[in-house]
């Protein structure tokens, strides 16, 4: 280290100990500048404003004790080296501290100036090394991401050409095709689609690694997703003569999920199940609630196939893993599907796991968080510990009047939702997550803290602003309707939490009634 001044932030409440540390630093003839604070909160405030060379940290402070002290410092200043100065020897705590990222753990009593100086110098050096390693790793990931994105682009171009000419021939647009030739062309097309899926998976896996998987969570009926996935794979199951059963809990609530991505996960799991199950076997897809975990919906895909070897089980979600025993002529992927599926579920705040008995079958399960309206409503409809008095529910429908391209329509809806978010008062009104519906129509609901009489003004404003979207102006193919729905009066409830729960229930009931109540729900703030 050069002779630059080392800026030390000393977080120590005992004046005697603080003086001792200062003395040791002076003795070491070490160009140092010490800023001493005696509370953790003051230390964190100082770290928020400036970055010292090193933090010397006592663990027992007036506002924090033990492991909690270094945990909070590391959390707030992950790049600053931290050296713990403890009053007592505690091997277990010291190891814990080092594991969490503390650079050193020294005992105040037997501290020489030389030791302290070295500890500080080495801590600074180690931290710098660690940081450059971290940066190198993230640069490498970024490079890999760019590389794969480039390669996938280059591979897609010739693949597109093959795809186009093969479909031209298969569709008979380049002259008559014999049944045998048609069969061969179908085989080529199948391989083209496999290659395409592999390129897509490569990119997705890299994205997952960089934390860049894109998720757009909405309010989704859990059972609908299962039904869609099963319908998509029914033909494949019939072709393989594998049974495809569905078991849906009758009281399934809504989940907060990206319907496209979760459908992808379900399709992946069911497709695997069918692939590894012999004729006359069965794949069962279930969605249910579990009493022990009321905040999640549980999904499972179980097959009666050959099962997974116990040795392979812990590796099944690893990238590129393929069980050597199951690799056969049917293999068609890179071994990234389960890794991506697990990452998608994790991004939703759920988890995925597998259980298997060799010879009897496998069962893949995952969870998705329940959509809790009460949780979303709480900060919006309460004010200074009380429920806001005036509340109204506004329904907004966007209907395309001609068929718009899918990408375009989704983008339009996203823009409308963004705009809607700005039309309402951010701190007083809540735009509910969009309902994922099967049809082309998009419906949004807004809980507004306003008098019913003022709702028409609000809906007019929303209609005008959304109608002014440039995309809608040019196409003129969209109908926007907004209207208020009455909320029934609120019965008395004891606590604020109970009141919010009641409002959530009322809103849920009103929304479901208005939607024609096509789904069944559990009562508790389920929308």
């Amino acid at each position: 280290m050069d002779q630059q001044t080392t800026n030390v932030l000393l977080i120590e409440d005992n004046p005697g100990d603080a003086d001792l540390v200062r003395l040791r630093l002076v003795e070491a003839r070490f160009p140092v500048n010490v800023n001493c604070v005696n509370r953790l909160s003051d230390g964190l405030a100082s770290l928020a404003n400036e970055t010292p060379s090193v933090v010397l940290l006592d663990l027992y402070l007036p506002d924090s004790r033990g492991a909690e002290t270094f945990r909070r410092v590391l959390e707030n200043a992950p790049h600053v080296p931290v050296v713990v100065l403890s009053g007592q020897e505690d091997e277990a705590l010291a190891i814990k501290a080092v594991h969490q990222g503390v650079q050193d753990y020294l005992i105040k009593g037997d501290l020489s100036s030389k030791q302290l100086e070295r500890a500080i110098r080495y801590a600074v050096e180690r931290q710098a090394l660690l940081r450059s390693l971290e940066m190198a790793r993230s640069q490498q990931l970024e490079f890999k991401n760019r590389f794969l994105s480039h390669v996938s682009h280059e591979l897609r171009t010739p693949l597109t050409c093959i795809h186009q000419f093969v479909t031209l021939m298969a569709d008979g647009l380049a002259g008559p095709v014999s049944p045998e030739q048609h069969d061969h062309l179908k085989t080529i097309l199948k391989s083209v689609n496999q290659l395409h899926a592999m390129i897509r998976d490569l990119l997705e896996a890299t994205r997952a690694e960089c934390g860049k998987l894109r998720i757009e969570p909405r309010c989704v009926v859990a059972g609908d997703l299962v039904q869609q996935a099963v319908a998509l794979l029914r033909p494949l199951a019939q072709q393989k003569q594998v049974g495809l059963e569905m078991g849906l809990d009758t009281r399934l609530p809504l989940v907060l999920a990206d319907p496209d991505r979760i459908l992808e996960v379900l399709v992946n799991l069911i497709d695997n199940g069918i692939k590894f199950t012999p004729a006359d076997g069965c794949v069962t897809v279930k969605a249910c609630l579990v009493d022990a975990d009321p905040d999640h919906v549980y999904f499972s895909v179980a097959d009666t196939g050959r099962g997974i070897n116990p040795e392979a089980l812990p590796l099944i979600f690893e990238r590129l893993f393929q069980d050597p025993d199951t690799v056969d002529g049917n293999r068609s992927g890179l071994g990234l599907g389960l890794y991506i599926a697990k990452e998608i579920v994790a991004r939703h705040g759920g988890r995925m796991w597998v259980a298997s008995q060799p010879g009897q079958g496998s069962s893949f399960s995952f969870t998705l968080p329940l959509y809790s309206l009460a949780k979303l409503l709480f900060p919006v409809i309460t004010h200074e510990g009380r429920l806001r008095e005036a509340l109204a529910l506004v329904r907004l429908d966007l209907t395309p009047l001609s068929s718009l391209a899918r990408g375009n329509w989704r983008e339009t809806c996203t823009q409308c939702l963004d705009l809607l978010g700005r039309c309402v008062y951010v701190d007083k009104d809540l735009v509910l997550p969009a309902m994922a519906t099967g049809g082309p129509q998009e419906t949004f609901f807004v809980v507004a803290s306003t008098e019913m009489q003022r709702v028409p003004i609000m809906t007019t404003r929303i209609r005008q602003q959304i109608g002014a979207l440039p995309q809608l102006k040019t196409s003129g193919t969209l109908r926007v309707t907004a209207r208020a729905l009455p909320l029934p009066s609120m019965p008395e409830a004891k606590t604020l939490e109970q009141q919010v729960e009641l409002v959530a229930d009322r809103v849920t009931e009103a929304v479901l009634l208005d939607l024609g109540c096509k789904h069944s729900f559990t009562g508790k703030g389920a929308l």
Binding site: H153, E154, L159, Q164, L173, S403, A405, R406, G407, T477
Partner: protein
């Protein structure tokens, strides 16, 4: 797909579509596919000639690649938007590039639909039909 001409050869199907792509093979394949669906086609292989051909031919719809020599797809869209008589032509982006990021940029840049290559022919034809309808109605009225 035995019956390529699903819309029954109405005026909609005699619309003129411009294909802008630097891959000559893909241009040829798309031309064959579109002609089989009773569309007229014209084509351009780079950003510069795309504008020139559009000025001369006044297509009813443009299928546009993003990675192009002499002015990329975004550049082409910008110049179409700035032009008095070309800004109303619907543009469908068909690219090998990643939809993440590019889809939003394309739609913001004036495209009416975005597809990543390789595209499903039925989806592409459906988008062409959907986007031609308002454009042709408008042309009829003016």
């Amino acid at each position: 797909m035995a019956n390529e001409n699903k819309s029954g050869g109405q005026p909609l199907n005699r619309a003129k579509i411009m294909i802008v792509d630097d891959d000559p093979d893909l241009r040829r394949a798309l031309k064959l596919r579109l002609r089989a669906n009773q569309y007229e086609t014209v084509s351009a292989s780079d950003g510069y000639s795309a504008i020139a051909v559009a000025q001369k031919e006044h297509p009813n719809l443009i299928i546009l690649d993003l990675g192009l020599p002499a002015g990329d797809g975004f550049n082409v869209m910008q110049r179409l938007q700035e032009s008095d008589n070309l800004s109303d032509i619907p543009v469908i982006v068909l690219t090998a590039r990643d939809p993440q990021g590019n889809e939003q940029l394309s739609l913001a840049g004036g495209a009416t639909a975005f597809f990543q290559k390789p595209v499903d022919n039925n989806e592409l034809l459906e988008a062409i039909r959907a986007n031609l309808q308002p454009a042709l109605t408008k042309a009829l009225h003016s």
